[in-house]
Amino acid sequence: MSGTSILPRLPLGDAVESAIDWVTTTFRWLFLALRDAAAFAYDALDAVLGGPPAWAVALALAAVALLVRGWRLAVGSLVGFAVVIAVDQWDNAMDSLALVLLASVVALALAVPLGIWAARSDRVSAVLRPVLDLMQTMPAFVYLIPMVFIFRVGIVPGIVATVIFAMVPGVRFTELGIRQVDKEVVEAGHAFGSTEGRILRQIQLPLALPTIMAGVNQVIMLALSMVVIAGLVGAGGLGGDVVNALTRVDVSLGVEAGLSVVILAMFLDRVTSALAARAPVSRALATASA
């Protein structure tokens, strides 16, 4: 009882809880609309990925790998997907992939504009920094609790928590990428009479693109890691089976679901980093060193 005698107990948790209660009841209509929209988007995406036969989807994904990188990655992906199908985790993997893609798209749609804003204003950057720190370091489970309050158990709290958790590197890398653009090149844009918007579109974003793409890669990887945790609140997919394996102490199920997560992660990582190498700036520099 030594600590409590000096300072009164600060009811921080209670305060946040009642704030969330208030938000939940006041904006119930908004959250309901959000939930329906998210659920609809997820169902549509899941139907595309999980609907057709497994081999067709696996081939289509391998074709994507072939396009962005080359035949090695395509063959490797096919082998990986074959393992996933063989351990009977394909449907779960596609559920998770749908969740990852949806959450990543939403996270990037929020993160990139925020990053641009932060790059253009030191004040915004200063305000955003502690908020981003909080979002990134707060244990991921903690997001899930209020999400369940607001959206109830299911896919949607998983998506929302994933978006919040995964968008941080998207903001950071976008800001960094734009701030790192050679000052003289931006000056050149001004010196020839370009408008701000044009400088952003024609100079800052293209030159920052390799860095922004590294951020996209990070967003997707974080989304995947969060998707597993989202299994705790009934988001299903591979995360659901990992949670099942944990509660039942089922080593064989745990290994199979876990391995499928790894295969999915490697596929997503290689494809997105190949995309970064295809940015015009990276390609121009590559031609020179060839």
Partner: protein
């Protein structure tokens, strides 16, 4: 005609520019106002005539980069006016400023500032794209600009495939493609290695001959300033300490700082024969007789003298031995002893080109004008003297301890070495 004029321009960065400005006007120095802000440019006033190459020279931190960035509105002056035609860049609105940057003034950057993801042609066409010129027209004009700088055929590669010198040519082509009358060049050749830099300087002079742009050129290299500039402004600690031609800066430095600065310039390229020549000690008229000439040479203790006619047109040279020979053979006129083949220079010849004639003959090099009239001579000693800055004392004459208020603040006193 004036293309560009700066009137009492100040640029102060920092928290309280107003306070710093007030104190600077009351005579405070740059260091004294540091608590209120950094005074990058202090009370700059100058005019650039149209078609002129105006060089702003100073060391890093002297404010020259800030100054050039105010000439196209990248920075707004804290105080003062910058007139580009009828527009005051300190006061125009953003829209008008963009218009001026598109039509009136373009810029070449130290590190080229090209768009790495675009081809050379697209880079050169960039200002035209901003101006709203249609694609075919901008490709044509960008191609012409690339041809001007000697890069035709390179349009389809990306900048990363080019050497530094070629990249800066693209930078120059881009500025030329914009077809503005004013061209700002910010340390444009400083990032290039010396041989390429020389080549670029020559090319710029050639282009300037053809195009007659108004150029403001920033450099920290005095040789470059002297080589390129019609006039030079020397900046120190934010202030312009002298504006003048290269020769004026070299021969009449405004203060100790400028004198120190010009001490290591390649004077032979800047100084001309006209600026160092002396009146000839003795000339003889072509009508004079041999005896009279011999007497003059004996009195002046000279071995030879230049011969001119009534209009002072150089006829040749006579040497004492030749005059004596002529006398012995009974010649009455000087023409028999006259050596007509004399190498001469004109007042505008750079001193670098006076060395060869000076080495050929023991006589001072004659300087003649367009009508071959003798206007002066350059004795070898004068030539050598001109190569050494006026206030650099030969090492042996340096006092061990500089007197109070030594004119050479940088001079190092060396203690006598202890011999073991």
């Amino acid at each position: 005609m004036t293309a560009l004029r700066a009137e009492g321009v100040y640029k102060i960065f920092g928290r309280r520019p107003g306070e710093a400005l007030r104190r600077l006007r009351d005579g405070a120095t740059r260091d004294e106002v540091r608590p209120w802000g950094t005074a990058a440019v202090i009370d700059a006033t100058f005019e650039v005539a149209s078609g002129e190459t105006f060089v702003v020279m100073g060391l890093s931190g002297s404010g020259k980069s800030t100054l050039i960035r105010m000439l196209n509105g990248l920075w707004r002056p804290t105080e003062g006016r910058i007139l580009l035609g009828d527009d005051d860049l300190a006061r125009v609105d953003a829209k008008r400023l963009r218009e001026l940057r598109r039509r009136r003034v373009s810029m070449v950057f130290q590190h080229f500032a090209l768009l790495p993801h675009r081809t050379v042609l697209e880079n050169a066409a960039y200002p035209l794209e901003i101006q709203g010129v249609d694609v075919a027209e901008r490709r044509r004009r960008a191609g012409e600009a690339l041809e001007l700088v000697g890069l035709s055929g390179w349009g389809d590669v990306v900048p990363a495939q080019l050497s530094g010198g070629m990249r800066q040519r693209v930078g120059l082509a881009r500025a030329l493609a914009a077809d503005t009358d004013v061209l700002l060049m910010d340390e444009a050749f400083s990032a290039l290695d010396p041989l390429i830099r020389r080549e670029m300087q020559d090319q710029l002079l050639d282009l300037q001959q053809q195009l007659g742009k108004t150029i403001v050129f920033i450099t920290h290299d005095l040789n470059e300033a002297m080589y390129l500039g019609d006039r030079i402004a020397v900046m120190r600690d934010g202030r312009i300490v002298q504006v003048g031609t290269g020769e004026q800066v070299l021969s009449e430095p405004a203060d100790e700082y400028v004198a120190q600065f010009v001490a290591d310039v390649d004077r032979s390229r800047v100084l001309t024969a006209g600026s160092v020549m002396r009146p000839p000690a003795v000339t003889v008229q072509v009508t004079a007789g041999p005896r009279q000439v011999l007497r003059t040479l004996r009195e002046q203790q000279l071995p030879a003298a230049y011969v001119v006619d009534r209009r002072r047109v150089l006829q040749g040279v006579v040497r004492d031995a030749d005059v004596v020979t002529a006398l012995r053979s009974g010649a009455a006129a000087l023409t028999d002893a006259l050596e007509r083949d004399v190498t001469s220079v004109t007042p505008t010849t750079p001193l670098a080109d006076v060395f060869a004639p000076a080495a050929e003959s023991a006589l001072p090099v004659p300087v003649v004008d367009d009508e071959r009239r003798l206007v002066g001579v350059i004795p070898r000693v004068t030539l050598l003297e001109a190569m050494t800055p006026a206030d650099i004392v030969p090492a042996d004459d340096l006092p061990r301890t500089p007197p109070e208020g030594s004119p050479l603040p940088g001079a190092v006193t060396t203690e006598p070495e202890v011999v073991a």
